[in-house]
Structure formats: structure tokens, C-alpha cells
């Protein structure tokens, strides 16, 4: 039997209050109990098959940007990540040390984006992301989770949004953006609590907190397209889900239930969400199923699908095109997870005269290294992220593009850091940025 790749002194430990203080409180009995409880009662045959069927061939390594970016260091390969975490926990029947748990959780949270690229490379279809999710769940049940992402999960449970945005601050942000937008579109409204509207628009909490221009832009696009929509004034407006990424399924379920029920309370026909990947994953794949829905209980449309619909139905029209060379980043959760690659491209190409693909692309695209909650683990792990994605910098650079479109918030955060760290001469944009700037504005002054 191959000797397990244990976490030796070569281990890349990063100090973090959530991990360190959490681990300090652990006892061997508690570790063993929680690990066995999660593995026996919360995993299925799928987990057992993954533990059993891996032949250690290493083919998955080529799929992982951490491995590619770290000079093919085998300890960064997906198989090694499973080896250093879940396999040891299973092999030792939960009798692992607090230090082991702490390091396994660090690895699962900061050296894996749950991007599922490696799944495409494994001949047995082993999903390392699923296994890393189980390790995160074990860590969270033991109270060992990186501090910053735990803080966002706490915020979710206290305020039902990830940024501690208080209820009045949310409404006030919308009212403020409405005022601003009226300088450009005098009769623009941001409808709040409009019962029976066709659409509920939902966003992620960083939008009212840091990126209010995205709310402005979305309102301008909705207005120009003449859509019947509303925002809720109550919690349930934030579709994001860091509870999913820390493995706190109970809070995840609570968040998703509120999101769906808010839309149902308003009697809208569908939810349109902004350009966020992980939130989309949590509504069509994870949170919905934990609650008992096979699919989402109300039609959910991602921003990319929505913009495509507006463009192809003629509700918005192209006024000007971008001359610079543009490329398109495929976010894992909406592309590998839901196949929206062509819709995103069609919108991008309609507004951009000069377009170039990254190689590889679509479902084979390399992850941004921010998703899966990795960027939410905060400043202590920035270097891990940035160094772990040299491969992405090379991929971006090879296009020669001046603009990269990334229809996902986490991808924006991650790619911004990559562009900066590797001195790439590129600008990042959302699809909404492009549409807002280059659509025909028939209702503007």
C-alpha cells in the first residue's frame, strides 16, 4: 500500500484565528465522534465509492490549477488532497489529532476551489470537490473553520445576508441608487415589494455594501428593457451562500428557504439573479436538495441567461461595440455546473467587435482560484490563492486580450488579484457593465 502523504513539517501552515483557536478547543473524543458521525450518518455510498475506487493513478492532477501552478508538486494534486484529509480520517477511524484536523480543514478550504475540473480527468469520475466538502463539514461541526468565512456564515445566520447588511441599510441602498439613476433616467423606479411582479431580482450582499453601481446598472437595464420586476424589502434578497461552503447545511437550508419563500410571498413568476456563480449553485444544486426539492421550486434565471434573453428578444439593443480585444472567463458554477457557456459568449460577442477565446475554455476552463469560498477565507490566504493560480495568469496572458469578462463575483475578486500579481495589462468587466455602457438608452436624458 502506498504510504499516505501525511501532513509533515513541509506542510504549508498559515496562521488563522478560526483554525488555530478552533483546534485548540478540540479533544480526541470529540474529533473521533464528529468524524465518525459525519462519515457514517451524513455521507452516502458515493463517499464510500470515492474512498474505495481511487486507484491513485494521478490523472486528476492535470485538472487542478494548484498542481499546475505549483510546478506540478504532487502534494497539490486532487488525489493528494484526499489523501491528506478524508482518507486519513477514514483509515484511522476518526482517531486523528487536533493538528491534523486543523490542517485538513485549511487544505480543504484554501487549496481546493470545489471547481470540479479534476472530475473531468478522473477515469472513475471521482469528485474531489465533494470529498473536500465533507472535510469542511467535519471541520465546521468541530468549530474549526477559517475565521473570515465563518464570519460570513455567522452573518448569514444573523441577518440572512453575508455582509451584516442591516435591514434598513439594504432598503436605503436601493432608494439611494434609485435617486442616482433618476439623473440619467428621470422616471426610473426600483420597485420594492411589488406583489405580482413578473420577476424578483436577487443579488449578493457585497452589491449593496461595496458595489452599488451594479444595482444601478441592473435597474437601468431592467428599465430600458421595460421589465416588470421587484426587489424584496425583507431578508431573502441575498442569494449568496457561504454556509454552503463551510458545510453548515442547516444554515444553508434556512437561507435558501427564505430566498425561495420571499419570491413566493411576492408571487413573482421567476427569480432573476445577478452575475454570481456560487449562489446559482446553491439554488439549483445544493440548498434546494437539502430542503427536499429536486430542482428549484421557482424558476431561477442566472444573469447570463437573462441578458441573453433580453438581447435575443430585442428588449435591449446594441448601440456601440467595444473595439479592444476581449476574452471570456467561464465561471465553474455556471458553466461546468449548468452549461451557460454559449449564452454568455453570444452576449459578449454582440457587444465586442474583437473577441478571442482562452485555451482551454468552456467546461475545461481553469478556475479563478477564488470560488468555492476560498476568497472568503480572507487576507491570510491571499498568497495561497494567487500563487496557486499562475496557470490562470498564463492562460489569460496568452490571449493578449485587454478586457476579460467574468460573469461571477468571486471570479472578479480572484482574477483581479491574479491580474495585479502577474502584472497583466487587462481590465475586468461583468456582462452587466458592458450592456449598461453599450446598450441603446432610449429612456435616458
Amino acid at each position: 500500500m502506498t504510504k499516505p502523504l501525511t501532513q509533515t513539517d513541509k506542510w504549508r501552515k498559515v496562521e488563522d484565528a478560526g483554525l488555530d483557536r478552533g483546534a485548540a478547543r478540540l479533544t480526541p473524543e470529540r474529533i473521533e465522534k464528529v468524524i465518525n458521525e459525519v462519515i457514517d450518518k451524513e455521507t452516502s455510498i458515493r463517499f464510500q465509492a470515492y474512498m474505495r475506487d481511487c486507484v491513485r493513478c494521478g490523472l486528476c492532477a492535470e485538472g487542478c490549477h494548484y498542481f499546475l501552478s505549483r510546478d506540478r508538486d504532487p502534494s497539490y494534486s486532487p488525489v493528494a488532497k484526499m489523501h491528506q484529509t478524508a482518507w486519513e480520517m477514514v483509515r484511522r477511524k476518526g482517531k486523528v489529532s487536533a493538528e491534523f484536523v486543523r490542517n485538513a480543514v485549511q487544505l480543504a478550504h484554501t487549496e481546493c476551489n470545489l471547481c470540479r475540473r479534476c472530475l473531468h480527468y478522473c477515469p472513475f469520475g471521482i469528485d474531489t470537490a465533494y470529498v473536500m466538502g465533507i472535510v469542511r463539514r467535519i471541520g465546521n461541526r468541530l468549530g474549526v473553520t477559517p475565521q473570515y468565512i465563518q464570519d460570513t456564515a455567522n452573518s448569514h445566520s444573523a441577518t440572512m445576508n453575508q455582509m451584516w447588511v442591516k435591514e434598513d441599510e439594504w432598503i436605503d441602498s436601493l432608494k439611494w441608487q434609485e435617486d442616482e439613476a433618476r439623473d440619467e433616467f428621470p422616471d426610473l423606479r426600483i420597485p420594492l415589494e411589488k406583489e405580482g411582479a413578473e420577476i424578483m431580482y436577487s443579488v449578493i450582499a457585497p452589491e449593496p455594501k461595496f458595489r452599488t453601481q451594479l444595482i444601478y446598472q441592473a435597474a437601468a437595464i431592467f428599465h430600458e428593457a421595460g421589465m416588470d420586476y421587484t426587489f424584496p424589502a425583507t431578508p431573502g434578497w441575498d442569494n449568496s451562500d457561504m454556509a454552503m461552503f463551510v458545510g453548515n447545511n442547516e444554515i444553508m437550508g434556512r437561507l435558501k428557504r427564505l430566498h425561495f419563500e420571499t419570491a413566493q410571498r411576492l408571487r413573482v413568476k421567476r427569480i432573476v439573479m445577478g452575475e454570481c456563480g456560487h449562489a446559482f449553485r446553491s439554488v439549483y444544486d445544493v440548498g434546494n436538495r437539502w430542503l427536499g426539492w429536486r430542482d428549484s421550486p421557482i424558476e431561477i434565471v442566472h444573469g447570463v441567461q437573462f441578458y441573453h434573453e433580453l438581447l435575443t428578444s430585442g428588449r435591449i439593443q446594441v448601440e456601440t461595440q467595444i473595439e479592444d480585444l476581449v476574452t471570456f472567463h467561464d465561471p465553474c458554477n455556471i458553466i461546468r455546473g449548468r452549461g451557460l457557456m454559449e449564452q454568455g459568449r453570444e452576449v459578449a460577442k454582440a457587444f465586442c467587435k474583437n473577441y478571442i477565446e482562452m485555451t482551454p475554455n468552456r467546461e475545461h476552463n481553469l478556475c479563478c482560484a477564488a470560488g468555492g469560498g476560498v476568497i472568503n477565507c480572507g487576507p491570510p490566504f491571499k498568497e495561497t490563492r494567487v500563487k496557486g493560480n499562475r496557470a490562470k495568469a498564463e492562460q489569460l496572458k496568452a490571449t493578449g486580450a485587454k478586457i476579460v469578462i467574468a460573469p461571477c463575483h468571486n471570479c472578479h475578486g480572484g482574477l483581479e488579484d491574479i491580474i495585479h500579481a502577474y502584472h497583466l495589462d487587462m481590465k475586468l468587466m461583468f456582462l452587466g457593465d458592458i450592456i449598461y455602457k453599450h446598450m441603446k438608452k432610449t429612456k435616458a436624458v
Binding site: K175, A233, T234, E250, G292, I298
Partner: protein, 421 residues
């Protein structure tokens, strides 16, 4: 609550307001809302080169405001609106703003059996409620889950009782939340507090609480149940026993519990929104019997028919004998009464309304963007641009229809015979 027997129940139809009559006097108007008795229709309007006010039938409120939103009728018919002047927010009731002013005011709440009006408020960065122009004396770092008791005598909210520094996960884990009644917080703190419920005479308060990262239970008057669960959903009081009933997750399945012990033995994939019949004899809940199989369970027994999407709006008839809900299958909505689906599916269906004698049920529908009414499974012959929920008359033989057609707001009392043909 208004005396609906005193409303005009004479059969007939009349136009109450032409919505375009005063169009020249405003720049734009927001969605109209009809009063419960159907005698008026109101909307927020933006006046030319000025602020906002409210138009009721063809009369404007005298005052105008810098901002106005959340126009809602109280159960007794008074019209409330959240308004802002000189950067301060308050509630205006029938055009008269409260004297108290706030940094922000939102989420107006009403007591179904009284005239009390409550609102969530923020004052100098602190949070709480104001009821009938009286803000709580004690305000908090943050608050949510606003509630007024049925008789309006008490208000409550989940409140954050201690400050938290940025990313202070250790203090959070020790518990900084509680529930406050009329501004007075329970002594005990919890990691999280949600979904508050008063009993019928407003003397007791129950809430979902989280004791630690993964320990959930129900607290009643600040005291948690002894039993701890994997998760819980919103509690309610049992009108007969006085106990507290809540769904709880055990071993990955959901059970209905009373005072911490299993009330229904049968486990469900999901279980929530439990509701007692008005007399307290029957208890129903929305359940999933498997992934994508949603239905209603009455006294622990699920109905045979299920939906793959959603079940919502569980409604007992006033005599408790009938039970209706809305269900969604493959994007179409159906009405289900006592376990049987009415012919359907519709693009949208709104909460069911029973007649006082419990023999009839009416539902507002959206079919292809036009609104109509369905009574006892039969769709009314006429459709409308807009329609509000129907109300049965005191004798259960007529229905009040409040609708907009061709730009005019109309009030109609139709006899059941006319509707059912």
C-alpha cells in the same frame, strides 16, 4: 379589525375611481392598492417638480413627502405609508404622519385583531420597534423578525444584545442574540434567534433558538426546551393544550414535536408551516414525503396527491372542516381542497379564501397575464387587468370583487349563483 358585516353587500357593480382621471396632476403613479371594503383605491404618486404623496380615489393626501413607499391598508381599512421628510422617516396613517421620527422605518406590521400598527425602526444606529407612534425605550445593536401579537398589546423582535467586532467569531459563538418583548430582552442569550410567535392572549412568546453551532431547539419565554435537535422550524402555540408545537430534525428526518416530544410519529423529508384549525381540533402542515414530493399532512397523515414543486398557503375554513392550499407542478399552479385538486393549472394562484360557513372557497388566478376568480373549482366568466383577493359576504352567498378593468377601478358584489352559474 373592521366590521365587515357593515360593508355594502348589495349585489351590483360600480366604478369607484377612474385611475387616469387625475393623470395630469402627477408625473407617475405606482401600483394601486384596493381597500379591504373595496370602497377606495390608493397609489403613491410623484407630483410634478415636487415630492411624493398618496392619491386615494381622486383625492390627494394634503402633505407631500421627499420619499414614500410601502403603502398598505391596516385590517381596519386605514391606509398607511412609510414617508420621509427632511431625512427623517415615519409612518403616515390616512395622510397624518406620526410625531415620532426615525433614521429609518420599514416593515409595517399589523395586529389582526386590533387597530395597533407597528413598524421596525432605526434611531441613531440602534434598532427596535415603534407601535402606534411609541418607540421602544430600549433599542439594540440590530434586530429582525418583527412581530405584533394578535391583539396588538405586545410587540417582539429578535435582537442583538451585545456588540460584535469585525470577524469576532468567538463572541458570536457565545451567543449575542435574544428575543425582546416591547423592548425588554429575555435574560438568556443564544447564538441565533428566529421566528417568534405569541400565544393567543399575548402572555407567552416562543422562538426558534440555536444554542451552539449545531444545536437547535425552541425557547418559550426565554427557557429552552430540554431536547436538542439538528434543526427546527417556526413554532406555534397549541390553542387547546397551550403547548408549543414546532417541526424538529432528528436523524436527518423531520418530525412534528410538542413541548420537545414527538407529536407525530411519522418522519418526513421536510415539514413546516404547521397550522391549527380555528377551534384547535385539527393540525396540518406542509410536508415532503420524499425528494420532490410535496403535500399536506393532517394530524400526521399525508394526503395522497402531491406536487413536485411547492405547496403553500395552508388555509383552514372558519369552521375547521375544510383545508385548502396551493400546489405547483411543472410550473403550473393548482388549488387543492381537502386533498382533491380542482381542475387547473394556472400561471399563478393566490391564497385561498373560505366563506364564513366554510362551504365555499374562492381563489384569485392569473391566466396568461389576465386575472380571474375561481370559486369552488369554477372559473368566473370575466377576467380583469388586476384583481385583489375576493371576500365572501357575511351570509356566505356573495363575493366582493375588487378589480381594475380598462383603467377603471370597480367594486362589485356578485351573488354566488351568478358566479357558479
Amino acid at each position: 379589525m373592521s366590521n365587515f358585516s357593515a360593508w355594502d353587500w348589495k349585489p351590483g357593480s360600480r366604478v369607484v375611481a377612474d385611475l387616469s382621471a387625475r393623470a395630469a396632476d402627477y408625473e407617475w403613479r405606482e401600483e394601486p392598492i384596493a381597500s379591504p371594503d373595496g370602497e377606495s383605491v390608493a397609489c403613491i404618486v410623484k407630483q410634478p417638480d415636487a415630492g411624493f404623496t398618496v392619491l386615494v380615489n381622486d383625492e390627494f393626501w394634503e402633505q407631500e413627502f421627499e420619499k414614500a413607499w410601502y403603502l398598505r391598508h391596516a385590517p381596519d381599512g386605514r391606509l398607511t405609508c412609510l414617508v420621509m421628510s427632511e431625512d427623517e422617516w415615519t409612518v403616515a396613517v390616512d395622510g397624518q404622519p406620526w410625531e415620532s421620527r426615525f433614521g429609518f422605518a420599514w416593515s409595517t406590521v399589523f395586529a389582526p385583531k386590533s387597530s395597533a400598527i407597528g413598524v421596525a425602526v432605526q434611531l441613531d444606529g440602534k434598532y427596535g420597534m415603534a407601535v402606534d407612534d411609541q418607540p421602544w425605550e430600549q433599542m439594540y445593536e440590530n434586530a429582525n423578525n418583527w412581530l405584533l401579537s394578535d391583539d396588538g398589546s405586545h410587540s417582539a423582535a429578535a435582537v442583538q444584545v451585545k456588540s460584535l467586532g469585525q470577524a469576532d467569531i468567538d463572541t458570536f459563538a457565545k451567543g449575542v442574540f435574544s428575543a425582546a418583548i416591547d423592548g425588554e430582552a429575555w435574560e438568556q442569550n443564544f447564538v441565533s434567534v428566529w421566528s417568534l410567535a405569541f400565544n393567543s392572549d399575548s402572555s407567552r412568546l416562543a422562538a426558534e433558538v440555536r444554542l451552539s453551532q449545531y444545536e437547535y431547539t425552541i425557547a418559550v419565554d426565554g427557557k429552552p426546551w430540554e431536547q436538542i435537535f439538528q434543526s427546527v422550524w417556526a413554532p406555534c402555540f397549541n390553542p387547546t393544550s397551550g403547548g408549543v408545537v414546532a417541526p424538529a430534525r432528528m436523524g436527518g428526518k423531520w418530525f412534528l414535536c410538542e413541548d420537545g416530544r414527538k407529536l407525530w410519529d411519522k418522519p418526513f423529508t421536510q415539514l413546516w408551516s404547521q397550522k391549527f384549525s380555528p377551534g384547535g381540533e385539527r393540525l396540518a402542515a406542509i410536508v415532503a414525503t420524499g425528494l420532490g414530493h410535496w403535500t399536506v399532512a393532517v394530524d400526521g397523515q399525508p394526503w395522497e396527491q402531491s406536487f413536485n414543486g411547492v405547496v403553500m398557503d395552508l388555509t383552514f375554513s372558519p369552521n375547521g372542516r375544510s383545508l385548502a392550499c396551493m400546489g405547483k407542478d411543472d410550473n403550473a399552479w393548482w388549488v387543492m381542497v381537502d386533498g382533491q385538486r380542482w381542475c387547473g393549472g394556472y400561471d399563478r394562484a393566490f391564497p385561498p379564501q373560505f366563506s364564513p360557513d366554510g362551504k365555499h372557497c374562492a381563489v384569485r388566478l392569473d391566466r396568461g397575464g389576465r386575472y380571474s376568480l375561481c370559486v369552488d373549482g369554477k372559473v368566473y366568466s370575466e377576467d380583469f387587468d388586476m384583481l385583489w383577493d375576493p371576500t365572501f359576504g357575511p351570509e356566505s352567498d356573495r363575493i366582493l370583487i375588487r378589480a381594475i378593468k380598462d383603467g377603471k377601478y370597480l367594486r362589485r358584489v356578485a351573488s354566488l349563483g351568478d358566479i357558479l352559474g
